[in-house]
Symmetry: C2
Subunit: 464 residues, 2 copies
């Protein structure tokens, strides 16, 4: 799509200066956090109103132009990458929180509102937006909805899906739909809102979303526990889960911790070296709860599941302990990691992990493996670090070979090949490991209902 007359027409649909075609912008707005595909959009357009989005969609339908929705571009599956001459629709100028309703505990957000912006606004009003993850400082609400973003508090609060009270969308056909009207209860036919959540922009654009807020958590308290082996992590999870309302239960390996400690700006949790660590969090609403936590810790030590541990005594210490987990992703990005984001049901984690470890040990004997993840949700992040002496292409090619075995194991355990990163382009060709051919046919037929001309983010989730 390079016809300059079309771009001139596009410019008439938005405010002056809101279509960019310079090389820097194309490069910046054509990509997400993945590095697999070279960005190559034709133009970037910045609508400021729902009507402008609708006009862009109608223009795209008239001319058969492919559109790529673009939020904070922090995605990890190339769902927001424009690698084939598409027009990128960025929501950077639709970034306002339009209303906060304290009675309903809701915030009406334009799609370009940054996650952290919503979290902060909620906090200023004594409330809480609980979906949180490493990229909260740049990811946008529209993108969060498109990917049904998860993160570190899912065990208590669920995914983004749970927090969307209602939304306005522009479908691929150009219709504006107001979905669910922010109601708690609404039994009037199919909940189309749910279809757009996690659709990666393949059905249409989310142009406004009313997000639910929760009460602020009370006296959040964190424990980091060192375990003698991986097998001990699950009994620790069960012991704490049955006693406390956990707000998080994460894990990481000694290699992940070593990388973070090597930065020099975060203190070690305690002196003992352990092969694996669990990080858990809860609201210490009363002395009784804190005592329950300590008694459970002692029980875990007695059982031999925990070697050492620490409990935060202040907000500062809470934040420092969280850094041990939160800094992993950013720290290891230096080694160009090959990321797998896989999940099974919690009860299947131990068996699944053993098999994955065997595969990885056999096929990546020389590679450094960094494990971490949201183990309380059955979600494991398997990161393979690139050896310095290997080129990026050779490394990725080698990893792709091993994918087959990893994904076959995921399929065997009835798991997901993408727990929270989405499908985009990087997982598209592996979708059949998690979804049946019949399911994929139904998904394609649903896409055709909302986007009959295939202008919405083509090539994402499914091949064109």
């Amino acid at each position: 799509m390079t016809n300059p007359a079309l771009i001139d027409e596009l410019k008439t649909l938005v405010e002056p200066g809101k279509v960019l075609t310079d090389a820097d912008s194309l490069n910046a707005y054509g990509k997400d956090w993945t590095k697999h595909f070279a960005p190559a959009p034709t133009a970037i357009v910045f609508p400021k109103t729902i009507e402008q989005v609708q006009a862009i969609v109608r223009w795209a339908n008239r001319h058969g132009v492919a559109l790529v929705p673009s939020g904070g571009r922090t995605g990890l599956s190339a769902a927001a990458v424009a690698a084939h001459g598409e027009v990128v629709v960025s929501f950077d100028y639709m970034n306002q929180i339009l209303d906060i309703n304290l009675t309903d505990r809701t915030a009406v957000c334009q799609p370009g509102v940054v996650t952290e912006q919503l979290q902060n606004q909620a906090e200023e009003h004594g409330l809480y937006y609980p979906v949180d993850f490493a990229s909260a400082g740049s990811s946008q609400i529209g993108g969060n909805i498109g990917t049904n973003a998860g993160g570190i508090k899912v065990i208590r609060y669920g995914m983004t899906r749970n927090w969307v009270a209602g939304m306005k969308v522009v479908t691929g056909k150009g219709d504006v739909l107001e979905l669910n009207k922010d109601l708690i209860k609404n039994a009037t036919g199919y909940d189309l809102r749910q279809l757009f959540i996690g659709a990666e922009g393949t059905l249409g654009f989310v142009v406004e979303a009313t997000m639910r807020l929760d009460r602020a958590p009370k006296n959040l308290t964190c424990m980091v526990l060192g375990t003698p082996d991986f097998d001990s992590i699950m009994p620790v999870l069960h012991a704490f889960h049955s006693k406390l309302d956990l707000t998080a239960f994460e894990f990481f390996s000694d290699k992940a911790l070593a990388k973070v400690l090597a930065r020099g700006d975060v203190p070690a949790p305690f002196e003992s070296d352990c092969p694996f660590y669990a990080l858990l969090e809860f609201e210490a609403t009363s002395e009784e709860v804190a005592n329950d936590a300590l008694a459970t810790f002692e029980h875990c030590v007695e059982q031999g599941w925990v070697v050492d541990g620490v409990m935060s005594q202040s907000e500062q210490q809470l934040h420092n302990l969280w850094k041990l987990r939160e800094y992993i992703s950013e720290t290891i990005s230096h080694w160009t990691p090959y990321k797998n984001d896989i999940s099974v049901t919690v009860s299947k984690v131990p068996g699944f992990l053993k098999e994955i470890e065997a595969i990885v040990g056999e096929h990546y004997p020389d590679f450094e493996i960094v494990w971490f993840g949201h183990i309380g949700d059955g979600n494991l992040h398997l990161n393979i670090l690139k050896p310095e002496n290997l080129s990026k292409d050779e490394f990725f090619a080698k990893c792709a070979t091993v994918n087959k075995w990893v994904f076959e194991t995921v399929e065997k355990y009835n798991g997901s090949i993408s727990a929270e990163h989405g499908v985009g382009m990087t997982k598209r060709d592996y979708l059949t490991y998690s979804r049946s051919p019949a399911e994929i046919e139904y998904m394609k037929a649903i896409k055709a209902v909302f986007d009959p001309n295939g202008i919405m983010n083509p090539g994402k989730i499914f091949a064109v």
Copy 2:
């Protein structure tokens, strides 16, 4: 559909004796709790396996036979009524809990499992299935999913949708799909599971569902508070909601209470007579929480929002107080009530209720009105009782006239004409008050994807 040869063919698809055509069975299985339509099915079929359901669907597609899914038949919108010669597919013989997993906190249920059966099984394992409502003793899980059942604990636990970890469905085309594989995190394209929840059996059959369970609630404690007027109920809700994690917040009018007390088997909550009552529930996990509740009660009394009140001191008293609310529906059923089940966002309740009261006062001056509902979710049940001297037909005709004004007010407040009872046949012709024509067209197109021959519960949600 009366061709006996077709019924003979149907009989070959299931076990002997599992197709019934006698008048009593047709009458019993052809209806739900509504009384608007005379049941007139051709046959009732009772599959015992997923394969049998699939065979029935293929048979129906071959011969153009309409199927009506049938659970506990406790619906209030005639979504499970077979009034036009359909074949009813009953899940009474697929009623087993196949597995309970304590680690995942899930129960694999056949669709005919009764809600109470799941609640009891969960309790036996020290867990809790939190979706609860008056018909829990006979409603079935498949029907709960089909209607996205809500009830009395939504303020804390949400609707049935929140508790479906995964499910198997047979689509209207006859495909078996395994949706979501019970995973907590699964970002692999459209979440088709969500489409089947609340679809009232118009897309296919739910043939297995893995339901999530929660930890058992701790020391549930209930308060019933009398207020001097309706306007005081919302400040009471806000006062308690900001202090406590409520598990319920219900309300009912003096007329509702009077009907229940007249039964003679439930004691009055306290001596004062009040025009409205709030019932709230919370976990008194510590003395601090109980003290917070009492302090909030005192604050409400000081503000003049509460006239009198009582807090349960035992499990027995908890149950007795709940009866004041739970018995309303059954008690007033004696007066053949015309039920409206409407909702708006919580912040709009006061203005909305005033307008509805004015309409009702103007158009039903001689009718007795009983208000109650899940006010913490913005969900109001408006029940109009039939005067003894009026025939059922005259009464329903008169109520239908007033519907127009009620639903216009719902539309004005951006609410729902059916908060939790579904659309079925009774609300079908009013759907446009809550869903736009464009939305309805998309819904119909989605139905065509899953059920191209229109054999699945035709005439429900949409006209045929």
